[in-house]
């Protein structure tokens, strides 16, 4: 996975809470056996009508957000199904950072494993970003090392992230390889539990 250190980009504001992974990527697109190519299906039924035409009423279709790489949304983002297709779609569409007041646990982990930075800000901070990005083009810089969300004019927010998740994102680790350095411990555990086959 691609490391992420500092990311600057355009914000797409989605002022909705409890956005579930069924909305992020609907089930009919989960049948593919690859990891790539899910971006075209992101928020499919919100972006497209029954005929597959873009819905003008859905702001993500607005040209001014075409190059957005930072998704800012309401509380409890990514709830519901554990499908990792959701972060795959988000990443493939072009987002590297998702900002929300809170995330569902499984979704949060899935993001980190795919090099997407989930940033947790307060409700007020998130709303301030959303409101501004709805009014005008808004560019933010997220500095993972310093744990800051910065905008030229006004915003300077700090965020929390566990040190482990931070290191994973900064370094783009292959977690399996890291775990396998403890293989002797796994074997010892299996022996203790009489699990050796």
């Amino acid at each position: 996975m691609e490391p992420i250190r500092v990311h600057s980009g355009l914000v797409y504001p989605m002022n909705r809470a409890n956005v579930d992974t069924d909305q992020i990527i609907p089930k009919q697109f989960l049948k593919r056996i690859e990891r790539q190519g899910f971006g075209q299906f992101l928020f499919y039924h919100w972006r497209f009508d029954e005929e597959g035409e873009k819905r003008d009423s859905f702001s993500m279709n607005d040209k001014k957000y075409t190059d957005a790489s930072i998704l800012v949304a309401g509380d409890n983002f990514g709830c519901g199904s554990s499908r990792e297709h959701a972060p795959w779609a988000i990443l493939d569409y072009g987002f590297r950072v998702v900002i929300a007041p809170s995330f569902a646990d499984i979704f949060y982990n899935n993001c980190v494993k795919n090099g997407i930075l989930p940033v947790q800000l307060s409700e007020d901070e998130t709303q301030a970003i959303i409101k501004k990005a709805e009014q005008q083009k808004l560019e933010l810089t997220i500095d993972l090392e310093k744990q800051l969300v910065v905008e030229e004019e006004e915003f300077n927010f700090s965020f929390d992230i566990s040190d482990y998740h931070k290191q994973m994102l900064l370094n783009g680790w292959d977690e399996i390889a890291v775990t396998l350095t403890h293989e002797d411990k796994i074997t010892a555990y299996e022996e203790r539990q009489h699990l050796t086959g």
């Binding site: 909305q23 089930k27 519901g80 796994i186």
Partner: protein
Amino acid sequence: MTQPKTIIEKIWNNHIVHQEPGKPDLLYIDLHLIHEVTSPQAFEGLRMKGRKVRRPELTFATMDHNVPTKQRHIIKDEVSKKQMHTLKENCEEFGVPLADIDHPDQGIVHVIGPELGLTQPGKTIVCGDSHTSTHGAFGALAFGIGTSEVEHVLSTQTLGQARPKTLQVKVNGKLGTGVTAKDLILAIIAKYGVRFGTGYVIEYTGEAIRDLSMEQRMTVCNMSIEAGARAGLISPDDTTIEYLRGKRHVPDGEAFEQAAAEWRALATDEGASYDATVEIDADKVEPQVTWGTNPAMCVPVSANVPDPASQEKDYEQDEVQRALDYMGLEANQSIDSVEIEHVFIGSCTNSRLSDLKKAADIVRGKQVHEKVTALVVPGSKTVKEQAEAEGLDVIFKTAGFEWRDAGCSMCLAMNDDIIPPGERCASTSNRNFEGRQGNGARTHLVSPEMAAAAALEGHFVDVRQYTKTALNG
């Protein structure tokens, strides 16, 4: 004396393979369940790195999400077919046991794990599926994982996890007649919201929980994830142990008694403390019906759909309004006035034998309303067989229900069992998200009894008034 512990802490401590400050604990995984949708990319990852499955015998796969529930072998969708075929190839290549579509053990992964006795108290259980929380009913620590984590478990039989906070959900008193485990968990989520469990593992305690059968406990734990909790569990007791006795993968004879003693010892100690506790009175819970697009958007059957104007914040008003628009409902409309076109009895929440029996008790000798299409989809082939042995299929079919083969079916509509846009379904499943049962479909979550009664009436009714005799009988 040692510090009293919760079952969550005990299971956690028993499974630590490696600990380092500032890092997640590396936990050993006792059982890894697999299905066709969330595993192909994980197996592909192994292949690309030349890695193996460390413990194929602790891994068990089935096909459930895509499988047709009628005309079993006609899979029209080529991509679905390929996904199922890929699972078969992967299981063969990596030596993982598989209950495929033709296998007598096939069924929804969260139905067959317990049925086969693979699910046992004290185990750590994972699956690339958020409803893995179901297995917590047995006093196992069971949670859903993403596909990258599936790959990690396949390859190492471990998973790095930050120690979760513990949350006690205490259910006082007793559930009334005709009020089910499904109503209880919906009422809990309605009261505390869709994210009160985020970051926690839930333990359900209290008199009403002790009174539940194992299958009812599975219904409760199943929906822990709808409250945001990856795992929800119940300390093992006599009910747990008697349910497990004689199951295929459970030891027998002397070894069973020994295992049972160990399982009992896992129960939360007297005086153990939780990071948080919430409570609910079971005797106040009524049959529930969801009205909106997440499981907390739920009211008792005697109540009305809410009014956006009564919400505090503007984005909350928007959320309620958007849900009403999607659902085609008016603010303040009484929920029992809502008419339905479809009924789905099935899913890992409510497709076990006792669920089907209770629904059958309601419909016995009656007829499905003329404008309703009603479906029963047993959770596994075994459930189907047992139900047929008891004549439930005949009761359902005579009443006008379709009697299908085992799978996830209309819970997520990945196969051909799809609700058309704008149509409305009373469903015993667990998610009423937009489009869950088909693009534009409108889902109302209810218990099997409430779904059965709605099928007969064509709209929601309080099942307690509808047929007291059937429920008491």
